[in-house]
């Protein structure tokens, strides 16, 4: 932990009820929200079902000496203003570079892209000299397009459904912002929002070796294929790191993503937030149709002026509130909100570094993102399996070996490997509850696929953890195993997230607010929903 000269850490002030706010779930958004409320002087309690903070932002020692970011594994867009407001570096927040993207192909060739533009250009030129030249321009163009999104993710979603004058003013400002960017930019954005990732990329590039690995950032966490319309938009997220300039929002969190949660929790505690672990919430305490606190599974009742839900919309309304308290129309909308998890995680403890057959050795090919997306057809076939209720026999994978950059997560010379796997549909054709039976077969498919590129991988595995969407739901409370608390598809974003008319963290239930990834601007370790929720609550004097 860093200590800075000239300042001493404020002693955590133990706050005991009555509480102004009780936050359900100590995921990163719940913690951020709690910290902001406490910063404004409110008495806040966070209750968490598990025995550690973080939710899906978690580091766990699943094999002695090996620490894994079990679920989320990179930090992408944690907002710089949140890092500053909460002084997170002081509580151990550190992000290490993750610059390379390595893609091995089935014919034994490979593509290695990194932060050096000339080196990357040369690597792409082996497949297409034309694409090599365009690649940098593309990045620049995407960063430009990202400017639309920046005010969106750092503020409330402009809501055309609202009628109050402030809202109209906000819309007008947004319209001006859009108009000011010029025609070409607008066309680019409209295309992004409607096209598929592959079609959009094909407007720029000719070689599949580039299009395939680039297109996957359009499908991560969605139940869509790289040729499905609307997936181009999510490509933007990959370039959004640029909008923060030197802040470098993309990288590998030191100590795993759990360290980010610990840092936020540290900041929150210092601000006086009380965090109760191992305290599962059974349901909301309702009084006169309004939220009045929570009831824990052990029967404890905790009263608070407001309740803030850090769990997904589905779980919030259908389990914690209960359908009996909801208007039928609203309940219908919540049920329509697409959760449908599509991905799993395989975490490996390795005895030694594995090697690629196409590029042996322990070079830069191992220390960044390793993308198993050799062709568009490969990705489409992977999607085909999922469409009919099976996990992909040959899945898309995003592999990271964090111990190469952060040796503290594994014993010396040993390594941790994190494998994000898609597709693993929550609803198998045998039913979601069949996942425990298919778990190891799924793990085997992952290892078999990777072993095609890294033949010595199987012999280096000391321990294997397989997390299916079913496990993500059971262990981490993500409904249907959706890592974003609801798919990040266009019809579920901005003023439509989670339900039209309720994109401002408020809910139809009085004194109940939502602060997690199921609200605008959505998932990933961004923290923006939590912070914007707290801001909105304070502004509305809700607490």
């Amino acid at each position: 932990m860093n200590t800075h000269a000239g300042e001493s850490r404020p002693a955590p002030a133990p706050a005991r009820g009555p509480y102004d706010a009780v936050v359900v779930g100590a995921g990163h958004n719940g913690l951020v929200c709690a910290a902001y409320l406490a910063k404004a002087g409110r008495k806040v309690l966070v209750v968490e079902r598990r025995r550690q903070v973080g939710g899906a932002t978690t580091t766990e020692e699943i094999h002695p000496g090996f620490k894994f970011s079990c679920c989320s594994y990179v930090v992408s867009l944690l907002r710089p203003w949140i890092i500053r407001d909460l002084d997170l570096p002081r509580y151990g927040y550190e992000v290490l570079p993750l610059e390379e993207t390595f893609t091995p192909f089935e014919d034994g060739s490979y593509l290695l892209r990194d932060s050096d533009p000339e080196r990357t250009k040369r690597a792409i030129a082996r497949f297409s000299p034309r694409d090599a030249e365009v690649y940098k321009q593309f990045g620049q163009k995407m960063a430009e397009l990202g400017r639309l999104v920046k005010p969106m993710i750092d503020g409330l979603a402009p809501d055309p459904l609202a009628r109050n004058p402030f809202e109209l003013l906000r819309l007008a400002r947004f319209a001006r912002h859009v108009r000011g960017q010029g025609e070409e930019w607008l066309i680019g954005n409209v295309k992004m929002m409607t096209m598929s990732a592959v079609d959009f990329l094909s407007e720029w590039f000719e070689c599949e070796q580039l299009i395939a690995p680039m297109s996957v950032s359009g499908i991560i966490g969605t139940f869509l294929g790289v040729r499905s319309p609307g997936t181009a938009y999510v490509l933007l997220h990959h370039y959004m790191g640029e909008i923060d300039g030197s802040y470098r929002a993309w990288g590998l969190p030191k100590g795993g993503t759990g360290a980010i949660a610990e840092a936020i929790a540290g900041a929150a505690r210092a601000l006086g937030v009380e965090i109760r672990l191992g305290a599962p919430v059974e349901r909301l305490l309702m009084k006169h149709g309004r939220a009045a606190g929570v009831v824990l599974e052990n029967g404890d009742e905790i009263a608070a002026k407001v309740v803030v839900s850090g769990v997904d919309p589905n779980r919030t309304f259908l389990r914690l509130v209960g359908e009996e308290h909801l208007e039928p129309e609203f309940a219908k909308q919540i049920k329509r909100f697409k959760m449908r998890g599509s991905s799993g995680k395989v975490n490996l403890a390795l005895d030694a570094l594995p090697e690629f057959a196409c590029l042996p050795g322990a070079g830069p090919q191992l220390r960044g993102d390793i993308t198993i997306a050799p062709s568009i057809e490969y990705l489409e076939r992977a999607y085909d399996d999922a469409k009919y209720g099976a996990f992909s026999r040959r899945p898309f994978m995003d592999v990271v070996i964090p111990s190469l950059t952060d040796p503290t997560v594994a014993p010396p010379g040993k390594h941790t490997m994190s494998i994000f796997v898609q597709y693993a549909p929550y609803k198998l054709k045998e039913g979601a509850a069949d996942w425990p039976r298919q778990r190891e077969a799924f793990g085997d498919a992952v290892i078999d696929t990777l072993a095609q590129y890294m033949p010595n991988l199987p012999s280096r595995i000391l321990h294997r953890q397989v997390l299916t969407p079913w496990d993500l739901e059971q262990v981490y409370g993500l409904t249907e195993g959706n890592i974003f608390h609801g798919e990040l598809s266009l019809e579920q974003l901005a003023f439509l997230r989670p339900v039209p008319g309720w994109s401002r963290y408020r809910t139809p239930i009085g004194h109940l607010w939502m602060c997690a990834s199921g609200t605008h601007p959505g998932g990933g370790i961004m923290g923006a929903p939590g912070a914007l929720c707290a801001r909105t609550m304070l502004h509305a004097r809700a607490v």
Partner: protein
Amino acid sequence: MITYAGSDRGYLDRSSARSPMPIPSPFHERTSKLCTSYRWKEWSGYAAVSSYDTTHEREYFAFRESAGLLDVTPLFKYEVHGPDAAALLSRMMVRDVSKLKIGRVGYSCWCDDYGKVIDDGTVTRLAEDYYRVTAADPTLHWLQAVGRGLRVTIEDSSARLAAVALQGPCSREILRAVSDADIDRLKFFGATRARLDGLDVWITRTGYTGDLGYEVWADNAGALRLWDALVDAGRPHGIEPAGLDALDVSRIEAGFILLGVDYFSAPKVILEARKSTPFELGLGWIVDFERPTFPSFIGRDALAAEAARLRRGTAASAGWALVGLEVAWEALEALYESFSLPPSLPATARRDGLPVYDDEGRQVGKVTSHTWSPILKKYIALTSVHASHAAPGTILQMEHTVEFERRKVPAKVVKTPFFDPERKKRP
């Protein structure tokens, strides 16, 4: 009697007319193969790696997260032996070197008669009458001048000794694995003799990164073996060779000043205003007026007078102070936003001086080193300001250029070090 022990320094002799310029360090055979970026710079006549890769980011993070291996051979090194060795160094340094115990290292600076700093460096007491001095500038002439009439032998070991810094949280484990030193008991600023892969070396727990770290000193002949042994033992710990670009970011975070950048050697400058006293460089804590020895240290009278003025508070309006500045990021972001740009800073630490102003627009100082700190997520600067503006919390305006336009951004005076991990001094 003073003896100058010249030595046969072979092809690496800095003074030899035949040696190539810049001089290859004894590690050159290894470093030159690793330096695929061809990014080199001159350091005291040596060719030194700026960054091994085209960016220094990984090397920087090695210092902070695993271990970075940095060739520091170009440092000037002197061996001072003899019954009067302590007396010489106590006379020369503002620190009372006679109090230094065997196996300890002391950081110090040395001044001219007027209390103006000439250079800074370390003194290691290797044995009863044996000290090793490191310096940024050539110092033999000064040691000789101060030692006139004393019973000492002074050897310029600069070209004979190879040195590497092994810095970072894993550095201790690496040295534990590769040497017979009792590394866990080596305290911060401790020194020990050790065997390392059959080599006779000295290990000091010192460095210029402000992190847990060590420096290893060995004869040139063993340099490559030393390098290989450290790299082999370091591989499981993620060791990376690191260059001066990574070091520069680290040392600013650590609040360490650099001769010729943050201050200037008194005998080398023309303008009086460019000279600094230890107090003006934030090194007042080293100055030890209580000396049993006579005569006292060089510059004592001038510094004692300054200290007295400081105590009375009358020096505050006249002198300078070296402080840290933290730029207000919101303001910087807003400034860039007004150009429709994301806030972007140079990727490397910078040494271009920038004026610093007070609220009324008067210049009250200058930034001498500045960098984006990746670990603190802050834009930080080492700055000389009028002592009247040096109180922590003072808001100053720092020049910042965007799109060829010179603007100002607010920055807050803070104490240094900016970054001070607990592991640095942990027993």
